[in-house]
């Protein structure tokens, strides 16, 4: 599903990821951990096609991301969901407009998309704020809308960057079970998290990064 071969990434000459090789199978649940600045977000961005590796190759669903033409990137991204660490919602749009965007881009019919949006928002407990403007939501609410936007499309791969950083313990448990359920349905999940509770609950393969190096790779291959 996802394969990395000796991937190295520099930012302005500064090492962010160093010689990472990795193979993730379809349906796996991978948890990325490591201290602040270890390169977790960078790794997710590389897989998503938002950054290019300086060395090495990345294969996602048998496509070489490093060689993807500019016009293929959007289609690559449509197969994935990405919960960003800094949310990135369209601030002037309502919650449902934000969540519907990936569906509009794919040209889904209005009826079908409305049903899917409602379903996704219900899963994260935000269906009571359908027509609230995104910019006035509390941080936890924005984070949940972000999760809804990432899963509304039933993606093949779900990338999530610290999706519970602004959530209370109870919601964290709920979101973790949501990711678990999505994973069980066959979606490959890759999540960067600091939260021990989430790590324990998801019970997946744990990759530990430190200063750009992959220092441990433990856990289950199911």
């Amino acid at each position: 599903m996802i394969q990395l071969f000796h991937v190295t990434k520099y930012y302005d000459g500064c090492l962010a990821l160093s010689d990472i090789s990795l193979r993730i199978e379809k349906g796996e649940c991978v948890l990325l951990t490591g201290p602040s600045g270890a390169g977790k977000t960078t790794l997710l961005k590389l897989i998503f096609g938002a950054e290019h590796p300086d060395e090495g190759q990345i294969l996602v669903q048998n496509r070489n991301i490093a060689r993807l033409g500019g016009s293929d990137v959007p289609y690559h991204r449509r197969t994935m969901g990405y919960v960003l660490q800094d949310f990135k919602l369209l601030p002037q749009r309502t919650v449902s407009e934000n969540v519907a965007l990936p569906l509009i881009i794919r040209g889904l019919s209005s009826f079908e998309s409305r049903r899917k949006v409602l379903e996704a928002l219900r899963a994260v407990g935000m269906d009571h704020k359908l027509s609230t403007i995104a910019s006035v939501l509390s941080a936890g609410e924005q984070q949940r809308v972000c999760i809804a936007r990432a899963i509304v499309n039933s993606p093949i791969i779900l990338l999530a960057d610290e999706p519970t950083g602004n959530l209370d313990p109870q919601l964290t448990t709920e979101i973790a079970s949501l990711f678990k359920a999505i994973n069980t349905r066959g979606t490959t999940v890759m999540m960067a998290t600091h939260n021990r509770q989430v790590v324990e609950q998801l019970n997946g393969r744990i990759l530990r990064l430190d200063c750009g190096h992959l220092v441990s790779d433990q856990g289950v291959y199911r």
Binding site: A50, P74, K88, I105
Partner: protein, 299 residues
Amino acid sequence: MKRLWYFIREAYTSLRTHRTSTLIGILTTAFTLISFGIFLLLYHNVHNLLGQVQHTIQIIVYPKNDIESGKLHDLQQGLKTDPAVDSLTFISKQDALTEFKEQFPEEVYLLEGLGESPFPASLILTMAAKTPTTDLIANLVNRLQHHPDIDRVRYNRDWIERLTLIITYMEFGALVVGSILALASVTIIAITVQLAFHTRQQEIEILRLIGATSLFISIPYLIEGAILGAAGAGIALGFLRGGFELFTHKTQGLSVFGGFSSALEFFPLPLSLILIAGGILLGCLGTLTTIYGSLRFRL
């Protein structure tokens, strides 16, 4: 269908939420098009006016003193059918005398001793308005001077040459000023759109992130640019028309501009439509240059 609706709503929302940039876009387009339009209007009318002035150029032809009336008739016919000539007036010897008496009533006594009129007969030609080059006039004069029945040809060489030079310089100046204004318009509109885009960089990035293609991202902005351009051009036309009406109205009853004021004319309809189309084109062009500037591959 859903997408089309999305595009239109998106353009509308964007115009509404970014009121400031919408306003500046429309105003800049309007302002540059007004400048350009005033210039065009001036050019259009001065061009017309010069045509009219040229129409007043006169060439005076003095037939030989002893010309037979048959030959005179032939000459007149020949000149009438010349494409460069608009009208022809024959002034007989007697007419010339009468005219002199009218012009210099106090010197009439000078002529009292004379029997026949001492003044020669003449033909006065006015040029067709469609004869803008002096070449044609010089050519005509040359032909006339070598005509066997013609004694002398008089015309204000100086005046004609000056007029031609003025026309040439006006056309050169028009080209220069016109292209500078057009360039300035495009530049400023492009930069305006770019600035407006700048404020939406984040939105575009988010759309890219979700997997939107460049085309999908661009269409609402293109629609927006077109609307901006059209609105700007419309305002400019309205402004120009209003100013023009005011001007002609104010100057109509006055003799200051001679008969010219009533001859002033606004752009004909096709030109107005072209101006609006130009505005739309400017808006789209500005958007396009901006989009392809800022849609570089970034998260």
